[in-house]
Amino acid sequence: MTPLMSARGLIKTYGATVALDSVDLDIQAGEILAVMGPSGSGKSTLMHCLAGVVRADSGQVRYGETELTTASDARLSALRRREFGFVFQFGRLVPELLCLENVALPLRMEGVRRREAERRAAGWLERLDVADCAGKRPGQISGGQGQRVAIARALVTEPRIVFADEPTGALDSLNGELVMRLLTRCAAEAGMAVVLVTHEPAVAAYSHREVVVRDGRIRTGTGVSR
């Protein structure tokens, strides 16, 4: 099966620091891939290179017809808006907007009309079991709820790949479990791939397979992509 995304020989340095040292990685459509490893090992850098947020010094990242390492900024930003979804450790919701408006925002930026954008946003809030947060601002809800709203915002454009960087990092075990259950269930239902960066084994256990990054290199991994 042709991978959804394919990275070869990725190298990224920051001054004297070699953050990625010749990394190869394939992502299959619909798979949940955990990227594990100690902090500072290069997980986030790898994710950023795959997602077209950071350009690698050398190597290739192929996504469909696009070669991310040489694509124009406009093409990269279109991919990030339409094809990729992002979840971070802290929700990064816009504090001035209602949760419903936060989730509708990516659609609004794509030119979807307000009413339609909010209807779809409400559907995702429902699926992530935070429909009751719709009319509240991010400051008025709990961390666990905020993270589920952030996931709704990442999924609302129905991306092909969701990049999640330590999505449970700021949550306790119970909320982390809830977030992982909902994220993996929603991704499976919608056929999205998830690149799940985490150093927590209990979180990585929701994946289909894992790779381990150590000193900018991929060591080993197990599991099978579906």
Partner: protein, 174 residues
């Protein structure tokens, strides 16, 4: 696990026949290993001998399945004592894993490889438990979480040891 205390506690919940007692045990605690009838009846016989249970009803006919058992006051006290007594915290000193790592370092083999293979096997086990937990009810979740957190502790050790391999190798070979 103390099967006799658990059976006793189930009887405190309400008197029942040996057969129903086995069913109740299996439904709540027998996820991996259901009880044998023999175990149930031999345990009941022992509890009876020690005065912790009594036969409160005998139906006409013969055989152990005709008797209904009830907990006695002494039995209730016994359950209470068991619950109040902490379990001995297990310490897993000198695990096989530690030995393997030292042996690998001593013989100049790839100790990081040993740890990586183990880490992968642990994560695969956690993945299976997570699937079971996600598909099951709350009791399944509690049982799986217990195992998951123990595996997680092992994984933390594996991670720490991986980070310390360089120094450990120097100490061992010096």
């Amino acid at each position: 696990m103390s099967i006799s205390h658990t059976l006793l506690a189930l009887l405190e919940h309400g008197p029942c026949h040996g057969y129903d007692l086995k069913q109740a045990f299996d439904a709540r605690f027998g996820h991996d290993r259901p009880l044998h009838y023999g175990q149930v009846y031999s345990t009941l016989a022992r509890l009876l001998k020690h005065g912790l249970v009594e036969v409160d009803l005998v139906e006409p006919g013969a055989g152990p399945e005709r008797k209904r058992y009830a907990i006695t006051t002494a039995g209730v006290t016994d359950v209470e004592k068991w619950l109040a007594q902490p379990e001995r915290p297990e310490s897993y000193l000198q695990s096989t894993l530690f030995t393997k790592v030292v042996v690998a370092l001593l013989t100049g083999r790839d100790a990081a490889g040993v740890l990586d293979v183990q880490r992968a096997a642990h994560l695969e086990a956690m993945r299976e438990l997570t699937r079971r937990k996600t598909a099951g009810d709350l009791a399944d979740a509690l049982i799986c979480d217990y195992a998951i957190f123990h595996l997680e502790a092992d994984l933390r050790w594996l991670e720490m040891t991986t980070a310390r391999l360089g120094r450990l190798g120097q100490e061992i070979r010096s």
